[in-house]
């Protein structure tokens, strides 16, 4: 096991302990509020991932090093996983607390749009034949999507300020208990480590796959000749 794997594993265990045993129970929401640590950490990590996609897409376009494209793709795939976790844990938390599965709150809406951007990116990857062209087109879409994500967040936030809030007013950001804040930050840290660990695994997998494909092509050529 690599050092990163060990650290990630320890951090995830520690965050489980912190979330379920150390963090105080929220007075009004009760135990269900503990999903908040995973929910918010996943959301932040999914935004971190699109930033990683952006960096590697730009670097790929500048250098044409195929490995940078592999890194962008892997970050997008892992980012899509975290993004999906946001969309699953959000309603699970909202239903018992607010009585509704979904509200068009700025954070929820932009998480949803980010998820759609990830899915667009991954769909695009499957639909372009040539690997070289696929890398370029995806890098272009990756840059557009990553620049768009914060603008989507701002626009939905401003949209909200002009409309009445549907069910609840404030968010969890206001006046968070110091103990809770500590747990949140440490859980986020664990999630960031998890992201980097999964990202590296996914990169390795992609490289192996590419190696297999190139070996297969060589074998086919040898057979043909």
């Amino acid at each position: 096991m690599s050092a990163l794997a060990t650290i990630t594993f320890t951090a995830m265990l520690a965050s489980l302990y912190l979330v379920f045993l150390y963090a105080p129970t929220e007075t009004t929401m009760g135990e269900v509020q503990r999903i908040f640590y995973f929910h918010v950490s996943s959301a932040w990590t999914s935004f971190l991932a699109i930033f990683v996609v952006f960096i590697y897409s730009v670097r790929f376009l500048a250098t044409r090093n195929r490995d940078l494209d592999t890194k962008a793709l892997s970050a997008a795939e892992v980012g899509a996983v975290f993004s999906t976790m946001v969309l699953v844990s959000g309603p699970l938390w909202a239903k018992p607390v607010w009585g509704i599965w979904w509200t068009w709150d700025a954070r929820l809406t932009s998480a949803f749009v980010l998820w759609l951007i990830y899915l667009g990116y991954l769909t695009l990857r499957r639909l372009v034949e040539s690997p070289e062209q696929r890398a370029r087109l995806c890098a272009v879409f990756g840059v557009l999507g990553a620049v768009d994500a914060p603008i989507v967040y701002m626009s939905t936030r401003w949209f909200r300020t002009q409309h009445p809030q549907p069910v609840i007013a404030g968010g969890e950001g206001s006046g968070l208990d110091p103990q809770m804040r500590l747990v949140l930050y440490l859980t986020f840290l664990a999630f960031v480590l998890l992201f980097f660990y999964l990202w590296r695994l996914r990169c390795d997998l992609e490289r192996t796959q590419e190696a297999v494909e190139s070996l297969e092509r060589q074998a086919q050529l040898r057979e043909a000749s």
Binding site: T123, L124, L127, E129, R136, L137, V140, V143, L144, S155
Partner: protein
């Protein structure tokens, strides 16, 4: 030839091609009329409801009609296999983008003008006193949308199922411009105009600055091979 004259030449070429077949324009216009027809039977709006839902209806129609039109943006090049020739021309690839984008903008604006007239006519909506603002908002909203749409049409042109791919890629990215356009249109539909008008118009200007510049820079990576 300077950059802008090159872009002008591409723009003119696309206009000539379009006015020979009128494919994109007819499909956008008919689609717009059909949506207005459906809207009447789906909601049977009175004048207050027209004020309330009109901006959303208009922009939904503009967006989906625009997608129809933009799916044809590179149709001439693809069907005649003339993209290669276009790339060989001694002009900057950014100019190709600018020319195509401006042509798409013009087609969308023409279709939108007709749709707006039909909307005012069918729903007895008094558009004349708002015509100045409405034109400005339509121009700003359509510019950003056409710019992102043109580059993503070029991306999706290279995929299998390109017709489906364009909306999947474009709609999440174009969400902020739709929000801004609907909100500012809603602000002028009330009498007197809503306070949010200035804010959202500024937002549209900022979105346009970012999303006209970025595709202009990224376009060359799509054409390359």
């Amino acid at each position: 030839m300077t950059f802008f004259r090159q872009a002008g030449a591409i723009f003119w070429k696309d206009i000539l091609v379009e006015f020979r077949t009128k494919d994109a324009l007819t499909s956008m216009l008919l689609f717009g009329l059909l949506v207005i027809l459906m809207f009447h039977f789906a909601f049977e709006p009175d004048s207050l409801e027209t004020e309330r839902y009109g901006p959303g209806l208009l922009w939904m129609t503009f967006v989906f009609a625009g997608i129809l039109g933009m799916n044809r943006a590179f149709a001439a090049e693809r069907e005649n296999d003339s993209l290669q020739a276009l790339k060989l021309a001694p002009i900057s690839w950014g100019a190709i983008f600018l020319g195509k984008m401006l042509a798409n903008l013009l087609f969308m604006l023409l279709a939108e003008t007709a749709m707006l007239a039909c909307f005012a006519l069918f729903f007895n909506f008094d558009l004349l006193p708002r015509l100045g603002w409405m034109s400005a908002i339509t121009l700003l909203g359509t510019l950003g949308f056409a710019s992102v749409g043109t580059i993503l049409a070029a991306v999706s042109m290279n995929t299998r199922m390109s017709d489906v791919m364009l909306p999947i890629l474009l709609l999440p990215i174009a969400l902020p411009v739709v929000v801004g356009a609907v909100e500012s249109t809603a602000a002028i539909f009330t009498d007197p105009p809503g306070e949010a008008l200035g804010f959202w118009v500024k937002f549209l200007v900022v979105f346009n600055i970012i999303f006209v510049t970025l595709p202009l820079l990224l376009f060359e990576f799509i054409l390359e091979e």
